[in-house]
């Protein structure tokens, strides 16, 4: 795409995209670390995830401030407008994603010391899948790539299946051994948080699709992929 006649406009948009990418990187890292902390019962890593959330919140505020400034000063239109609005919305969704990672980290001290049941070892795989969805959605935004955004939607179905399977496994554990109920209840929330992260990543992908094409993903009609 050509550059703007007003160079500062390109700088503003570049900065906005940079901030969103940075937020996405931190959120993905928070998910990965929270799951590592869960797997290894690493309380200091869990604390690191909780403490790291403030940085993501600050970035979100910065995205909002810059987006409002761009709208006020540059009056963006067409793809520029869609991109600025998407950046603002994506930042708010990524902040929520990071909150889920923080929630997972918060549960780790509460199941500390209990004998770890086996699903604890498969939850990190679900965590990786959720983290990858976040990364792919944000990469699609960075590349303005509508097809890459659509691929994220497909991953969400796989993540949902993963959640259903873990859910059934965890319930079985509770039924078979009531002593695990407290721990499993926490793990159910962890799995649910990861499933929600996938939903939010899907949401980001939908925003990326609209920003890139000007078409709401639900209205894409003929462009529906099989």
């Amino acid at each position: 795409m050509n550059q703007h006649t007003v160079k500062a406009f390109d700088n503003d948009i570049g900065q906005l995209r940079g901030l969103v990418a940075q937020m996405g990187g931190l959120a993905e890292e928070a998910i990965v670390k929270a799951m590592q902390a869960l797997g290894r019962a690493d309380l200091s890593l869990a604390e690191e995830v909780r403490a790291g959330d403030a940085a993501i919140d600050r970035l979100e505020a910065e995205v909002e401030r810059l987006a409002v400034r761009v709208i006020a000063l540059r009056a963006p239109l067409a793809n520029d407008l869609r991109e600025v609005v998407a950046a603002m919305k994506i930042a708010s969704v990524v902040e929520r994603i990071a909150d889920y990672a923080k929630n997972i980290a918060r549960r780790i001290p509460q199941i500390e010391g209990e004998h770890r049941i086996e699903p604890v070892s498969i939850l990190p795989a679900m965590g990786r899948m959720a983290g990858e969805m976040v990364r792919h959605a944000l990469d699609a935004f960075g590349a303005r790539d509508a097809d890459a955004a659509l691929a994220v939607l497909d991953s969400d179905r796989a993540l949902d299946d993963f959640y259903d399977s873990i859910f059934r496994t965890l319930v079985t554990y509770m039924v078979e051994n009531p002593a695990t109920i407290s721990q499993v209840a926490h793990l159910l929330f962890v799995a649910k948080n990861l499933e929600r992260i996938g939903d939010h990543a899907t949401n980001v992908a939908e925003m990326v699709y609209f920003a890139a094409t000007g078409i709401q993903i639900a209205d894409r009609g003929g462009k529906e992929r099989n």
Binding site: M1, R74, A78, N79, D80
Partner: protein
């Protein structure tokens, strides 16, 4: 032409001397819509505006080819009287250009020359109605005998709109009507355009993209004498079909 169409432009080309100003433009102007014409300087948008009410007739060397109709009748037919046409298709110019007369006379002038008033009382009533529609009546009712040039720029522009409205036009052409006005004057004119919509077909040329987006239902983008894209304003400014339109409205032009 559909039932809602007021004017049609078909394969219209305009030359000033040997220089082409507009090439093969076709579009419809709907009865109850505001249409905005946008594009870089020299793109032909003002030329099209002036073609709609034959203002180009007085330009030496100007030549128009193609068909322009008003209610299905050929605007350029030999039988068409350009003066009568301009009463039906009124024009508001870039800089407010009231006559150096009183406020009342500015509005009454057109009524007189077209013989549209029956006596003093009728004339006054029509002057009041035009000034009311132009959103100026409350501000000038007590000073109708003052010189028009004593009004502010924004008021002068609304007076020019009242002058155009007085002769009961069917179409109003506006050539950058706010470019000489401050933000408040601009807001008043934009509000007025909204009020006038429905009663008149309105065609506005503007360099202000936000203004086009605010006041119009359809927008036409011109570049180098050609109509590049014409469609719903809401679409054109959020998701233009043509790359050239996008580059222009997002400030990536040239």
């Amino acid at each position: 032409m559909t039932a809602g169409t007021k004017m049609t432009v078909r394969d219209v080309s305009v030359w000033y001397g040997a220089k082409p100003a507009l090439s093969n433009v076709s579009l419809d102007i709907e009865r109850e819509e505001v249409i905005a014409l946008i594009g870089p300087s020299g793109c032909g948008k003002s030329t099209l505006l002036r073609t709609l009410n034959r203002l180009n007739d007085s330009v030496a060397g100007a030549r128009v080819q193609g068909l322009v109709t008003l209610d299905g009748e050929d605007v350029y037919a030999p039988a068409t009287d350009p003066v009568a046409l301009r009463a039906r298709v009124g024009m508001v110019f870039q800089a407010p250009n009231p006559f150096p007369k009183t406020i009342r006379e500015n509005v009454a002038y057109g009524l007189r020359i077209h013989g549209l008033a029956r006596g003093r009382a009728d004339l006054d009533a029509q002057v009041e109605r035009a000034l009311t529609r132009a959103g100026l009546w409350a501000e000038v009712r007590d000073r109708l005998g003052d010189p028009a040039l004593s009004l502010s720029g924004g008021q002068q522009q609304r007076l020019c709109i009242a002058r155009a409205l007085a002769v009961e036009p069917e179409v109003i052409l506006m050539d950058e009507p706010c470019s000489a006005l401050d933000p408040i004057g601009t807001a008043r004119i934009e509000e007025l355009i909204g009020d006038l919509r429905g009663r008149y077909a309105i065609c506005i040329v503007t360099h202000n993209m936000q203004q086009a987006a605010r006041v119009s239902q359809r927008t036409a983008f011109f570049d180098a004498g050609r109509l590049i894209e014409y469609g719903a304003t809401s679409e054109l400014f959020t998701n233009p079909r043509e790359t050239r339109t996008r580059d222009y409205i997002t400030g990536r032009y040239g």
